[in-house]
């Protein structure tokens, strides 16, 4: 037992958790084995170092809270700007589709050849409008009175009334 190397014992568990038997074995073997003695020495130093490391109290820097809050604000504003840009993109898409629809309708209405017009040419002039009366002054039909007839009728009537 004294001649058995103890390195595996040193690695099996933390140094502080070794039981009396294991410690006795290490103490018995270390003086006669240089490699195990060095390993035990290094294990002891390692154990102390790790304990000191664990005992160290880590305190956040005084600016930690400020930095975290600033980062949160930054992230939030990033999200907001992202939301706005998304909204803008959506609205832009909607507007583009509307413009495209209007343009398509305009092309279909005015440009595409062979589209029948709704009203025949010249029909914009009403038969009873002033223009029609003036333009068709000479084209009087048989059943219509001429201007002279109308005037004569009017003035005759007036003269009769005056008389």
């Amino acid at each position: 037992m004294r001649n058995e190397h103890v390195i595996s014992i040193l690695e099996s568990k933390p140094l502080g958790e070794l039981n009396e038997n294991e410690l006795a074995q290490i103490h018995a073997h270390s003086p006669i084995c240089e490699s195990c003695r060095q390993a035990y020495e290094a294990a002891q130093v390692s154990a102390i170092l790790l304990k000191e490391r664990a005992a160290e109290i880590f305190e956040p820097s005084p600016f930690f809270q400020t930095r975290v809050l600033a980062a949160l604000r930054e992230r939030r504003s990033e999200n907001e700007s992202w939301a706005w840009s998304r909204l803008w993109r959506t609205a832009g898409g909607l507007a583009s589709s509307m413009v495209a629809t209007v343009a398509t309708l305009a092309i279909l209405t005015f440009v595409v050849p062979g589209t029948p017009s709704v009203e025949p040419q010249g029909s914009t002039v009403n038969a009873y409008s002033a223009e029609a009366v003036v333009l068709n002054e000479n084209a009087t039909s048989d059943d219509q009175l001429s201007n002279n007839d109308v005037f004569a009728t009017l003035y005759e009537t007036d003269d009769d009334v005056v008389k």
């Binding site: 690695e11 933390p14 130093v45 390692s46 102390i48 170092l49 490391r53 160290e56 949160l72």
Partner: protein
């Protein structure tokens, strides 16, 4: 902050404390993993205080001397430098089990690793740590011999 922003992903299956601990652990491990450089530590890299601490440790007086606050800080700093030569997983396991007296189950809970993985990691990490310290001590002895 990561926990705050990922709050919606908390499913409420475990405790909130466990969830937060795991996030913190994984974040720290990822941070350590991203810093891939693992420097070799030799006696020449030690500061005067660290060198003196090692000497006193070798003289078996560290047990009394490491009580002082200043010595404790030197030791903690040196421990940090030695740990930096190990992998992040090794650092975590050693710091928790050997440093903070945490159980294997505690590490399992924090990391989500299997129990056997933690045990194997701890065994190997102890070996690596001991080897690193052994190298440091032997290089220090060589320097002293050369100076003499």
């Amino acid at each position: 902050m990561k926990a705050f922003t990922q709050l919606s992903s908390y499913e409420g299956r475990g405790s909130m404390e466990g969830w937060l601990t795991r996030i913190a652990t994984n974040t720290c491990l990822n941070l350590l993993r991203s810093a891939k450089r693992r420097p070799q530590l030799t006696a020449a890299d030690l500061s005067e205080d660290e060198s003196r601490w090692i000497e006193s440790a070798l003289a078996r007086t560290a047990a009394e001397q490491h009580q002082s606050r200043e010595r404790g800080l030197v030791a903690a700093d040196l421990a940090g430098r030695v740990l930096q030569t190990l992998t992040p997983d090794d650092q975590l396991v050693l710091t928790m089990i050997d440093g903070e007296d945490a159980s294997v189950k505690d590490v399992v809970e924090v990391t989500g690793w299997s129990e056997s993985k933690v045990k194997v990691l701890a065994f190997r990490a102890r070996r690596r740590m001991r080897t690193a310290v052994e190298k440091l001590l032997s290089s220090k002895r060589r320097d002293e011999t050369a100076e003499a």
